[in-house]
């Protein structure tokens, strides 16, 4: 059985993280991009897409947090090695996949602007930073796939053991 001294602090931090993301989503992102570019310039036309992009990205992180919360409850109840756990693991995987695809689009867009755009457009360093973050996300995604396979193995072992009289 997993110690409550581990689960409870983790949950408190997750709630804090969720609240922080909510503030960023509702206040900071719209505030940040509301004044982007001069009115009538191409940059200004990107305000709404950028706001939508970051809101959806943060939403993906929130979905991951929600699914993790559910899985944590199952761990606490000792029900993690069951078929119903895979729904939430798949939820995490889908959320990361959506966030990665969107992030890739952002990277592609930033790369094109940096390459073809004017000199004062997007700095190449920013493109590299986006790429590194994307790479990190990809590693996380593949790691989740490995953990899913491990959960599958453990669930099968548990089911086999329950059949032993």
């Amino acid at each position: 059985m997993i110690d409550n001294r581990l689960v409870t602090p983790l949950r408190v931090l997750m709630v804090l993280l969720f609240a922080g993301l909510l503030v960023a989503q509702c206040l900071m992102v719209p505030g940040q991009f509301h004044d982007m570019g001069e009115d009538g310039t191409p940059a200004a036309a990107l305000r709404i897409p950028f706001i939508a992009f970051f809101i959806v990205e943060i939403l993906c992180v929130q979905v991951v947090l929600g699914c993790t919360w559910r899985l944590l409850s199952m761990v606490k109840e000792g029900e993690i090695f069951s078929e119903s756990a895979f729904r939430w693991v798949d939820g995490i995987l889908w959320a990361i996949a959506v966030a990665l695809v969107l992030w890739g689009c952002l990277g592609l867009f930033a790369g094109l602007v940096a390459y073809f755009g004017s000199d004062d457009g997007v700095a190449p360093g920013l493109v590299i930073a986006i790429g590194v973050v994307g790479l990190g996300g990809l590693v996380l995604f593949l790691l989740m796939l490995v953990m899913r396979a491990l959960l599958r193995q453990a669930t099968r072992l548990r089911t086999d053991m329950e059949g032993v009289i």
């Binding site: 086999d160 059949g163 032993v164 009289i165």
Partner: protein, 70 residues
């Protein structure tokens, strides 16, 4: 399953009720039912030992292989 558990025969020979058998072996009645119905997939040696002790028999008296390949 090609391995058949002949628990009924031994229980009848000892004239032992299923409830008493379950209690003395230390199994739940549900698990005894699983054994008798042939739905068991695996059995611990410790369980087998307890069954043999209670029924005063050998594993071969309880377990039987039946060729069910076509």
């Amino acid at each position: 399953m090609a391995i058949v558990v002949r628990l009924d025969v031994e229980l009848a020979r000892r004239k032992m009720p299923v409830g008493e058998f379950a209690e003395r072996v230390g199994l739940t009645p549900a698990n005894v039912a699983v054994l008798k119905n042939g739905r068991a997939k695996a059995i611990r040696f410790s369980t087998l030992e307890a069954i043999c002790r209670v029924l005063e028999c050998q594993p071969g008296d309880i377990l039987e292989w039946v060729d069910d390949e076509p």
